[in-house]
């Protein structure tokens, strides 16, 4: 029934500037209810010093992708296919020992909830110093000095005394700062930030986002920034990948994707979101229905059951044929370029006022 078109992955060579390149990644979990296709044929590149935003709702596979990059998935119940190439090395086939050398060193991660992501049993200083000692061979004293330096950098007041505090003695915003200090302690080339500000208040979020941007300029790390919030991504990212049901549905620069979106799902996201400058007399335009189950994803285009424009595509291609995501600026949709243009200008843009 479903004709899976060959995905874009295998033909794209690693770009010259790209430092991480993911090709045709497929991640499946076996659960009691069946096989969950968490990520299904995903490809993307991250350039040095740039920020790639990955946006998607819960269950879109955005977090799983990045746990897989670091090899933090459960190896027993998960199968990973495809390639994750970091500086010419394939991480999918790398040994646990190799991965350990990489984690926290070349590639570091920031998690969503700093309260649960930091161990309550050890001091903040120790948790920051640990990876530094492990990866640079520094002594305990040197690592402690480094931890204090990092705490200063991320704006913790009185770092010399706070270094010996436990995470529960920090406020929410300070904990996330400590988490950032921990991630940057070895000066990583790539920082993966998984919803780093979702658990924070809006004024604190603004501080943390600016801090990340400023630190990126200083450290020169590439960032993969995962979020469900288009506002945050608009502020943070250079490039953007929109994910839905384990697949990338649209890709381009942030400006392109947010100002001239080409995929019906991106249209839906933008027009369902109230904005501070929006017209309040106009009702929001939600996407009907709910996200599909990853146990039994829809055939063809995963978005077709919620899509309002399937009738514009000849035949029933939307439900039978999986649309491919082209190179560069692209959207995985069967609508023709002209159709997308017309629909966006006539129907979608008026909603975004």
């Amino acid at each position: 029934m479903t004709t899976l078109t060959k995905t874009e992955g295998d033909k794209a060579p690693t770009g010259p500037g790209s430092f991480l390149s993911v090709r045709d990644l497929r991640v499946r979990f076996s659960t009691e209810d069946g096989i969950v296709k968490a990520v299904d044929g995903l490809s993307f590149d991250v350039e040095r010093g740039k920020t790639l935003g990955i946006v998607g709702e819960s269950g879109s596979g955005k977090s799983v992708t990045n746990l897989t990059v670091l090899g933090l998935h459960n190896p027993k119940s998960t199968t990973v296919e495809g390639e994750i190439i970091l500086e010419g090395r394939d991480l999918v086939t790398a040994s646990e020992k190799e991965m350990e050398k990489l984690r926290g060193n070349k590639v570091a991660m920031i998690f969503q909830d700093p309260l649960t992501a930091l161990s309550p049993y050890y001091t903040v200083g120790r948790q920051i110093a640990e990876p530094f000692m492990k990866h640079t061979g520094a002594s305990k004293r040197e690592a402690r000095e480094r931890a204090i330096e990092m705490l200063t950098k991320v704006g913790i007041p009185q770092p010399r005394t706070r270094v010996d505090d436990y995470p529960h003695q920090f406020s929410g915003g300070m904990r996330q700062r400590a988490m950032i200090a921990m991630a940057l302690v070895c000066d990583p080339d790539l920082l993966i930030a998984d919803e780093p500000t979702t658990a924070l208040d809006v004024t604190v979020q603004a501080q943390i986002l600016d801090l990340l941007k400023d630190l990126q300029q200083e450290f020169g790390s590439a960032i993969i920034f995962i979020t469900h919030d288009l506002g945050v991504i608009s502020d943070m990212a250079d490039d953007l990948l929109v994910m839905y049901s384990g697949r990338a549905v649209e890709r381009g620069s942030v400006r392109e994707v947010l100002r001239e979106p080409k995929h019906p799902y991106t249209w839906g996201l933008l027009s369902s979101m109230p904005r501070l400058g929006g017209d309040t007399s106009q009702a929001l335009n939600p996407i009907p229905g709910s996200p599909p189950s990853l146990l039994n994803p829809p055939s063809g285009c995963p978005f077709h059951p919620r899509c309002a424009f399937t009738d514009k595509v000849s035949g029933n291609r939307c439900s039978t044929e999986r649309p491919a995501l082209g190179e560069g600026r692209a959207a995985a949709c069967h609508l023709t370029a002209e159709q997308k243009q017309t629909i966006f200008i006539d129907t979608i843009q008026p909603r975004l006022r």
Partner: protein, 325 residues
Amino acid sequence: MLQFLIRRLIGAVVIMFLIGAFTFFLFYTVPQDFAALSCGKNCSPENLAVIRENLGLDKPITTQFWEFMTGIVAGRDFPQGHCSAPCLGVSFDSGNFVWDSIVDRFPLTLSLTVGGLVIFLTLGLGSGLLAAWKRGTVVDKVVSGASIVLSSFQIYLLGPIVLGILVYSSGIMENPKYHPFTENPGTWALGLLIPWVVMATIFTAQYTRMSRSTMIEQLQEEHVRTARAKGMSQRYVFFRYAWRGSLIPIVTILGIDLSALLAGAVVTEFTFDLPGLGRLAVDSSLTKDLPLTMGIMLFGAFFILILNIIVDLAYAYIDPRVRLS
């Protein structure tokens, strides 16, 4: 922290007083003439009166209670002589001081309990950790299966079986016997080895299952994942991060199990015919030797209270959130 300790100690004193009062009035309000019990079959009214006076039973109950309680703190005089500080009264049956009888029997019970505790914690937590580390493998299945089988055994069933095999039929080991630790630690350990192992078996199974499941739970914690994301080795993460967190539920259950452990010691003493505190307690209640029963009860309660304070201190040691709040 010090405040916490002091508050707990004050609380313990209050609880001890309440337990003392409760047991005292419970026992002394039963319609039973203790003097007659103590006097025996050929009892003359004169003898009875003397005994009654010696035991202080002729005084009003509140006075008796007052004397009992002050006796614990300051000691008390009896016709037999002075009963020094923690005085729990005089046994109706033997006429000995209750405290002396307890001190006489306690080392055996303590040896049994502590020895069993050390063995089942080592074996139980060790095999639980092993099963969690090797989760899903044959090792895990064997350990988990064995712990389920073993946990269905009982001391009074396992005891005779082990005795039959190791002592009566093969003669590899001698019948369990208590030698004071201070005399020769070697013979002390050898003499109690069989009761320890039998008692520990039942608890080991429970702690294996518990430490396995809490470890597996902890390994799913986000902060454990963070530690892995920092590049810490699996072994380091397992023993430093996950293990620390899984200690809390284990210590909690251990605190609850301490009284069960004392009860286990009683059964063990009977199974192996060892003259410990448990035996003394059962004997005293059979002979209706109330001061002795009460004394042992209070002593046991005291012991459990102290252990509970130690458990609380362990919490504070393990978890800085407890320590610093």
